[in-house]
Subunit: 313 residues, 6 copies
């Protein structure tokens, strides 16, 4: 039995160092103990325009209210604003989606793995020991997750030996993130068990093997998922098409613009249901000046209604 | 906001010309304003054997009663008749199916797109203008759809920029065709929104980008979908395996033959349920003369029942 | 109509010989009438360590009680024991799964097909005739299925003309195996019809064509499915990830070990729900000696409970 | 033996009608006898800006002198001009290239095939007969090739039964086009034999089967090859990367611009060989004003030299 | 160093039993020591129509003279005869070809591997020991090769750990078969070294790993390579398209028919070179009766010449 | 013309900062101006066991003499030593190889690109400016190459817009590295032009587009190429199978072990040529004690010869 359970961890390789900062807070000393490092100052510098608070480690913290509003977003609405602002590389697809109807929304907590290489791994572990730590498991990174986080993992599409979690750790991630979610360019184990847990997840494949033959090379560093450069703290939004990674500085615009698109779609369908118009007369923007006016008034009225029914943001 | 909405159409390229024929009916002058043309006479010539009425533009009009009967067809039943008649290239698969349980049945309304090429597109637009029309949107073709139509679109498998509709136009197509359906060798936008609309759809992929970098080159011309040459007016039938395109001249035989296969399957399963027979004694055709006679009487009786319960066709 | 139905069998090619062994039991004389043979003695020799009864043809017969316990297995639990014993090639995936939530459990009944080759096929048929048999249909093999069997078929991934059954024979297989199941490295017909029948099935694709251009070369011979060598009588277990083929000699260990893993997962989640622990303190094996003791006592207690509630095995 | 040879043609399906125009010239009456038609007037309208002569059937005829100059073009040089003019869909790749070192240059002669469909094929053949012609072979289209032509064929990527020519017809094409060339989105037969014939060819695959299960639907109509809309008369240029299809109206600019790029590359390499400069100082455009001046004088001098050594174009 | 060299064999798994038959000849007792067996009688039964001698183990022995004539065959010529006789599954392609210009000709010596499974492997090894043999290497099968053989190996497309030979054993195979050749549905090692050895080879991939994680399950048994059922003793012919496996009973017809096709092609090209004919007048079969007569006389004359210049066959 | 040439650089995005260290040497201040940084100290720490000199930036410098000896290595020889030492992830394949016969040997100079993201790119550029630099081109990294370097680039498999160099920069790289070489998980432009330049190159594809829509995120940082973690300074060795990345600390062992394998292969082939032995008696290690002794003496003698003929290393 010990053998069986030990199997689950024996091949995992993870290097992480904690510093006790004299207070209650435990912050990872990512600077020296992983292969790839991205310091708190780096995080602050590269996300300088985000208007919100930050976590202790520097990650932008998109407010909970905006996370809530983001639950109503769909792919098209996000595409519109990002495209207008010149961001054309923020969408990744090709995932198996665990619960296709359930929206994924949260703040990106990133992990990077690379193929195992003993010389590199030994140095990283030695560095960990020098910071007073024994060999660390990859769940150590998972133990840093916060409520509202989405765990975003670069396992370079690995299927066999590329399973970031099985059902037990998936359950833990759900608890720790308050149902935030998982996006992995890699695989998961225990698909059957995971299916019964109520957290959104996007993965490339499922496989019975545990994670192995890799090394954890970065925690909350910039990573690549498909054609997207993901930054720690990005707003992650997934629907049945795929996943968007939205820079925090654009979040407010995205959700505000989505209100307009929502109303526009509402009005367009109302008109289509009347059965009096060809699509060309309505779709995109109404051609007839009177109709256009009618639309604009409707838009204004509905925007007012929506905004009144909403607190601060 | 205008920017956002305008985005939806700005890259679409479509060329279509209407002629006002002195009456209420608007018919497209497809002959001169698209790159590829297929005249009313062409349509009549190439479908000369179809026994039904035609639309004003020459498309065969498989009667509503046969559409209704076709809702009970499955892939195997269609294969049987088409194969017997020497039609082995009428099935396309490899689609994502929007509502797998919901049958797709209707008359093919075909669109063809090709990669954008400015010199060609400019001439086509010039021809459109000469017929008194401003630049046309691709929903113009969509505005020609009739109740009972299935929109069948050759977008040569394009995913990015190959989205024939988003949820608004999908909604419009549902209204215009009375829930007919969509088959596109290309993609759709707003998968989430489309999923909530009750119309069958078959597509290669979903993508957040709007249609672009293509030109509309044909409306109701012969097109290729996978390994099938689709003619305007074909009976389109889709189930959870894929889509059949049935020449109108064969429709009656297909549905009549399907009655026989239905009854055969009914009887075969009844026998299997009795648990007295090996599959070899029953399957295909009963081996024992007495059983065979029993089957034939059953077939005759059931055919009579079915036909009595059915109007004209 | 005869034409239509005859189509279903005309291209199938199957060679099988029965011997009447003076008793009620019919056993296939596989030794001389198929291209590839694997005698009863071969079966007994190559599965000598399996501790259970055998069928008359030599196939190991994993007891019904163990089949029942196997219904609770998941991929991870099976992987753990097989990996520990050095069996790393017993899992196949990449299938379309008919009823993803429904577990597949049964004893492997294997079929092997190879591409049709007239010279070989003619000899095999001649051999069949010499044993007093007319040309045989491929359902003859299907007619040999027993309750609790899973039909496992090597059709070398063939899609077109590689459909082992349509809905009628699928129905028959369900009846004959008492809902055992089907795994085919090939395709099925009548996906729509099959979907309504309550038997688990794993296949590569669906296609409207009937089986053809192949010859049945082995019944209950060793076959390859993906990266697995499957032996007749293997315990077949499928979940939403894929299919395991478990050597009968390991079945008892697998299900016993699964009890331990079940309890371990139960305890782990209980601890996670308490919200007091990081995953690292619990996952894999508890780090704190007191916790470890708590776990071990829990394990012992629950194992006792489980075993008391269970008959003999 | 007759059987053997007859095989080569029996499955080919081609429909073409000739009109004897009272003179020596034979011109195809493409208008009525193929499924897809593109009249001489269509050709003239859609290529109105091309400044050269035309063939009797309306195809633009890029002059031989420009074909000659085009032999020195490479992919990058063509890309530069087309991209600048907004043509981003004129390049197709993914081909097997018969003689990778040998440039392909010529005027596009296009053929379109579609999957065979008996009802359509029968009408097309009937139309052919009405024009006084017996059943036509697909080499009839090949018999229309002119010196300098490149045969460009849409066989929708078909491998098995999608072989446009074997070595005999390939030899004929070489003779008829004076070594022009072949581009087929489909396959060829007799790869071994074809390899010994000195004509460039680009194809998707080689296969031993003859062409079959298709119908010839268009001769010199607009076709799609990969992501390119090809027009009859386009300048076709292929190198070891792939194939460009250049609108005749842009040919002069492409070859003139290529002179500049040639000289630029010449000068850049000369500077690199001197070993005194970093790439950044030279590449793209020289940063130092003195160097820039040197380059511009060199460019002017070399352009003069090149142009003096060249007749009219 | 020992470690290094030992690596090459340590993972290989092979089971083979020799019987000393009282004479000089060593014949493998394939019947009991491999998983899949195919006895001498099986071989004789299933190739009863082949008109030539046999090897001691029952394999048909296509005479050397016919091997020699087969060196001039190309894919098309083989296809013609096999297709006419109803053999449509004898061609495999998709290989990397070591020396594309060099023809592959020889008699099939087949090997079958399956994924390693310890329980099966242990029994097979026990059986080997009972026949007085120590653990055997997979080169034991290679040691059975005869001059004129082509080694044909089913490694089910395995790349990593699926390398049948490296350069040393490849060299040995060349020596033993007198340059016969290799076809493997799997991979090879040492591509660089192998490239310098003058023997034709067809493989799926090259990889640096040695063979492993498989078991040798059959020597000279029927195997599947792509879509072909290969029988031991088949005539193997490979050109730059792929590989044909020709049943010995058809070999004479194939080579005789090839003479006719050779002459036909010769004459056709002569006519094309005259430049007086359209392809349609000549290709396939000459349309003009006078030309046809000319051709038939030419054919007769050339056949006579060829046959005179050739010994017995 | 300016337009044309400017095109080559306009979409490239690169961020790099140089520090003038008071001396002649220019060293990049990689620490602050790229997204991903890996300092000189990181390089020294993570390659602490390498026994050679280092470059000024900390990269290990495998001596020229060992580079020279490495030119005779083949894939198998490298695999043997790395596998023995537990390094199983150092080989990447699937490349198009520019000059298949020409060995690639050199020291890894790594570049990492990621998908363009404006917010990140703007900060990186701002940081560059703060270090006194204008916008930098991606050839700036290329300008840092040293003789003996191989440029190893992670462009995440990008084809369109993923071309690291065209023929001009390829020429420059050849000059700067003294023919070292290029490995790119991405594409190249101007395949035709590049083919004429005598430097080894491994790439995924060729494409006419210039590099674009990406940002240079790391210079001499750890990168991933296929399944390999590549460290700056690794010995890169490529043959016709693929590319090995060898940690500097293992280089001496690899080349020494290769001597033994060379001699072993030499002796094995000599024995095979004698024609007296089965492969089993010789291959791997000689079975006969006398033969083994003969081999060992041969090995010793040849090793002595080789080592005498070689300077220091």
């Amino acid at each position: 039995m010990i053998t069986v359970i030990f199997r689950r961890i024996r091949r995992a390789s993870a290097v992480l160092v904690f510093c006790w900062l004299g207070g209650a807070l435990i912050v990872p000393c990512a600077i020296r103990a992983q292969l790839i490092t991205f310091s708190k100052q780096d995080l602050v510098d590269y996300t300088a325009k985000e208007p919100f608070e930050r976590f202790a480690d520097g990650r932008p913290k998109v407010p909970n209210e905006l996370l809530e509003r983001a639950r109503d977003l769909n792919s098209e609405e996000i595409w519109a604003t990002l495209h207008e602002k010149g961001y054309n590389n923020q969408f990744a697809d090709g995932f198996t989606i665990l619960h296709p109807g359930k929206p994924l929304v949260g703040r990106a907590f990133t992990l990077q793995f690379m193929p195992l290489r003993q010389d590199v791994d030994q140095v990283a572990q030695q560095k960990a020991k020098e910071h007073g730590l024994a060999r660390l498991m990859n769940q150590t990174a998972i133990d840093m997750l916060q409520p509202g986080d989405v765990l975003v993992v670069d396992l370079f599409g690995k299927k066999v030996d590329g399973t970031i979690v099985g059902d037990n750790l998936f359950y833990y991630v759900m608890q720790a993130t308050h149902g935030g979610g998982l996006v992995v360019d890699g695989s998961v184990r225990d698909l059957q068990g995971i299916s019964e847990i109520d957290m959104p997840a996007y993965f490339r494949a499922a496989d019975p093997t545990p994670i192995g033959n890799v090394m954890l090379t970065g925690i909350n560093v910039p990573i690549r998922i498909g054609g997207v450069t993901v930054m720690p703290g990005d707003l992650v939004v997934g629907d049945s098409e795929g996943v968007y990674f939205i820079p925090p500085a654009l979040v407010q615009q995205v959700v505000d613009n989505a209100d307009v698109i929502h109303i526009h779609d509402e009005w367009t369908r109302m008109k289509f249901e009347e059965g009096k118009y060809k699509s060309e007369e309505i779709y995109g923007t109404p051609k007839d000046p009177a109709l256009k006016k009618e639309y604009e008034e409707y838009l204004k009225k509905r925007l007012d209604e929506i905004r009144k029914g909403r607190p601060g943001l």
